[in-house]
């Protein structure tokens, strides 16, 4: 790991510790002295905000687990018990539920920031891939957490989503039964999802540690995308970025608190206040909003392709949409990282963002015209962006001249 340490043990005890387990040296190197580009904008605060989100979910989740009962007969009422009878329970439960949405808002912003500024490009491919792994784990965790209140949408969302396993040839039905612990969503499902929902956040935390490790090898990318040349381009992480990140976190907590205290249920579905009932299907089954873009891609393939039926096709498309993220470092071969200096990329990227929002919107609509056609168009653009536009742009686009260093770009701005 990088050597930026200016740490000198202050006394004999610190010296003794430093020779055996240099945690203080490690903290000083990586949390305080770490040289960080001085031109990072506020989009870069979402990394710290995400660490906060994970922390909030773990703390509130541990408290909720103390009062929750993972049993189909009691789960729904035990969540109400938390809201009604546990001290501060309404706030803790709302923080956890709203927190999931806030987590994904921050996660998507963080990912789109990386996609615009080319943070996935060499030498940060592993860093980016670890990030995608965190995204997938978080999605799985959120999906399993949503079943726990055992409302109608919990039950039917889980039923619909777990059915995608059956698309896998030969072993699909067996995999689905293994995941659900039975032929349909039931008590074994609730128990194992609760268990895994408690486990996965700690695995996420471990991958976050790897993610930060991978970040601290090359250091941060930055808005102009040119490498750090010398120490004039950087500032120590503390106090400059500790302070900026803390400010970003406090700002982020304002809309967070707004939802928790004034509209805790607005991000959910009214149907989830009806206890799960296998006999009654809701008129309109919708997954949570953060899964919608990928849900739209899953549903968009409603036609058979040769020997692949529409169901398997949908699953392949959804898996492919996530796989695109994993391989984007090798699809976009442009040497210029920052979208700021890529006149054509910028437009396709903007369209990609709007397209992604469109995919989310379409996921909440019923499967009828014009939505089904629009879903196909948006799905097509999603894949075109990764598989055609990025590779082609890398070859044909003439980027604008890059500043020679971060310092130069910063000075240029100051005198512009």
């Amino acid at each position: 790991m990088s050597e930026h340490s200016t740490y000198v043990p202050g006394n004999a005890v610190e010296k003794w510790l430093d020779d055996r387990l240099p945690v203080v040296r490690f903290a000083k190197e990586h949390l305080m002295d770490f040289p960080t580009p001085k031109n990072l904008n506020y989009w870069w605060t979402f990394g710290a905000i995400l660490v906060m989100c994970l922390g909030v979910q773990i703390v509130t989740g541990i408290i909720l687990a103390m009062h929750y009962t993972p049993n189909v007969a009691m789960a729904f009422d035990s969540v109400e018990h938390i809201r009604r009878d546990v001290n501060g329970g309404r706030i803790i439960q709302a923080t956890h539920a709203v927190g999931a949405s806030m987590f994904f808002i921050a996660l998507y912003i963080h990912m789109f920031r990386g996609l615009f500024y080319g943070s996935y490009k060499a030498p940060r491919e592993i860093l980016w891939i670890l990030g995608v792994v965190i995204f997938l784990l978080t999605t799985a965790t959120a999906f399993m957490g949503y079943i726990l209140p055992w409302g109608q949408m919990s039950f039917w969302g889980a039923t619909v989503i777990s059915n995608i396993f059956t698309a896998i040839p030969l072993v699909g039905e067996n995999i689905k039964q293994l995941v659900l612990g039975g032929f349909a969503v039931g008590n074994p499902t609730l128990n194992r999802f609760f268990s895994l929902h408690y486990l996965l956040p700690f695995i996420i935390a471990a991958v976050v540690a790897l993610h930060i490790w991978a970040l601290h090898v090359p250091g941060n990318n930055n808005p102009v995308g040119v490498d750090v040349k010398d120490s004039r381009d950087t500032v120590p992480f503390h106090p400059y970025y500790t302070m900026k990140d803390l400010y970003g976190m406090v700002l982020f907590m304002i809309p967070f608190a707004w939802f928790v205290f004034f509209a805790p249920d607005i991000l959910g579905h009214a149907d989830n206040y009806i206890m799960a009932n296998a006999q009654v299907t809701p008129a309109h089954i919708v997954p949570e909003w953060y899964l919608l873009p990928f849900y739209t891609i899953l549903r968009a393939i409603d036609f058979n392709i040769l020997f692949i039926d529409s169901k398997l096709g949908g699953v392949i498309a959804m898996g492919g949409a996530m796989a695109c993220l994993l391989v984007v470092p090798w699809l976009d071969t442009s040497k210029v990282r920052s979208g700021t200096f890529r006149p054509m990329f910028k437009w396709f990227y903007g369209l990609f963002v709007l397209n992604f929002i469109g995919l989310a919107y379409l996921g909440a609509q019923e499967a009828a015209e014009p939505y089904t056609t629009l879903a196909k168009v948006c799905t097509a653009y999603y894949f075109l962006y990764f598989l055609v536009i990025l590779p082609v742009l890398s070859r044909i686009e003439t980027p604008k001249p890059l500043p020679t260093s971060i310092s130069e770009s910063v000075l240029g701005k100051a005198h512009a």
Partner: protein, 296 residues
């Protein structure tokens, strides 16, 4: 130049983020298929300053107790809740006397039944769902505990976007109020026709309601002008004894049942938001001071 571009980019992403939050969270359709939109009522508990009106909750409880509770359960409500702060706030003596009027099952008591105490749950009118269906022509009267939050209203664009900023959480009570006022004795001309153009057929034993999904509701109109006698208040003012008033009061009571800590939640939220805004201001000042010497 770079700065200007960065600004544009930021604006674009902010707009996009706002859109994604808004668009993708459109509430699920809950209201009538025919698209009759329940009218929004001026609830005392709406908005960030919203609190329950204790008198209204007491009247709503009276309507619930005298009318609704003969078919609808509320199994998450305990008698003690009725005296808690932020609710109907009956006195402890009132609640004890009220509870004593009811009998609850208790296997440790002589004969298996005893008078209720404040710690007991509100007794359900039927022993189980099947008994409830048998007594109600096959329809199951839903439990009232969280019903006000289990119903909603699908708002047209762009209203539902504004809902995130106004914190509109009263779709359920608006729907309940509309439902209670939405009955017709005869199938009205506005009733939807079948796909084959046939006029609306109301099944035997059902009632026509503008707001109920499918319009054929098992519940007969439960309220009518004058069915509940409200006591006159001490200063001699009387509350109208009308369907409109009853339905508003009982809907408000149902909201309290579903969200008993609404008042303290909003009060806490107010303090939290004021703190966060001030704290953010201080953080911004500190951040600026620290960064003052750095061109960035």
């Amino acid at each position: 130049m770079i700065g200007a571009m960065k600004m544009n980019m930021n604006k674009l992403i902010i707009a996009a983020a706002a859109l994604v939050v808004g668009l993708s969270m459109a509430p699920v359709a809950q209201a009538a298929e025919a698209g009759v939109q329940p009218e929004r009522q001026a609830w005392s508990f709406g908005g960030i300053f919203g609190t329950y009106d204790t008198n209204q909750l007491q009247r709503g409880f009276q309507v619930f107790r005298e009318v609704c509770s003969s078919c609808h359960s509320a199994h998450l409500i305990s008698f003690r809740n009725l005296m808690e702060e932020g609710g109907p706030e009956f006195s402890e003596a009132q609640v004890r006397a009220l509870a004593a009027e009811y009998e609850v099952a208790d296997i440790t008591a002589d004969g298996g039944r005893r008078p209720a105490v404040p710690a007991d749950r509100w007794p359900s009118p039927f022993a189980n769902d099947q008994e409830a269906r048998d007594a109600n022509g096959g329809a199951l009267p839903p439990d009232f505990s969280v019903l006000a939050k289990a119903r909603g209203v699908k708002d047209p664009f762009p209203t539902w976007i504004f809902n995130y900023f106004t914190g509109y959480q009263e779709g359920g009570v608006d729907y309940i109020h509309a439902l209670l006022n939405g009955y017709h004795e005869e199938v009205p001309e506005s009733a939807p026709h079948g796909t084959d153009g046939e006029p609306f057929q109301l099944p035997e034993g059902k009632h026509y309601n503008d707001y109920f999904p499918g319009h054929a509701i098992g519940m007969a109109p439960p309220l009518a002008d004058g069915v509940v006698s409200y006591a006159e208040s001490e200063d001699g003012q009387s509350v109208p004894q009308t369907l409109e008033q009853y339905s508003t009061d009982v809907a408000a009571f149902m909201m309290w049942m579903a969200e008993p800590h609404l008042v303290s939640r909003k009060q806490t939220g107010f303090a939290v938001l004021i703190f966060l805004v001030l704290f953010a201001g201080l953080m911004y000042g500190t951040k600026r001071k620290i960064w003052a010497g750095i061109e960035h």
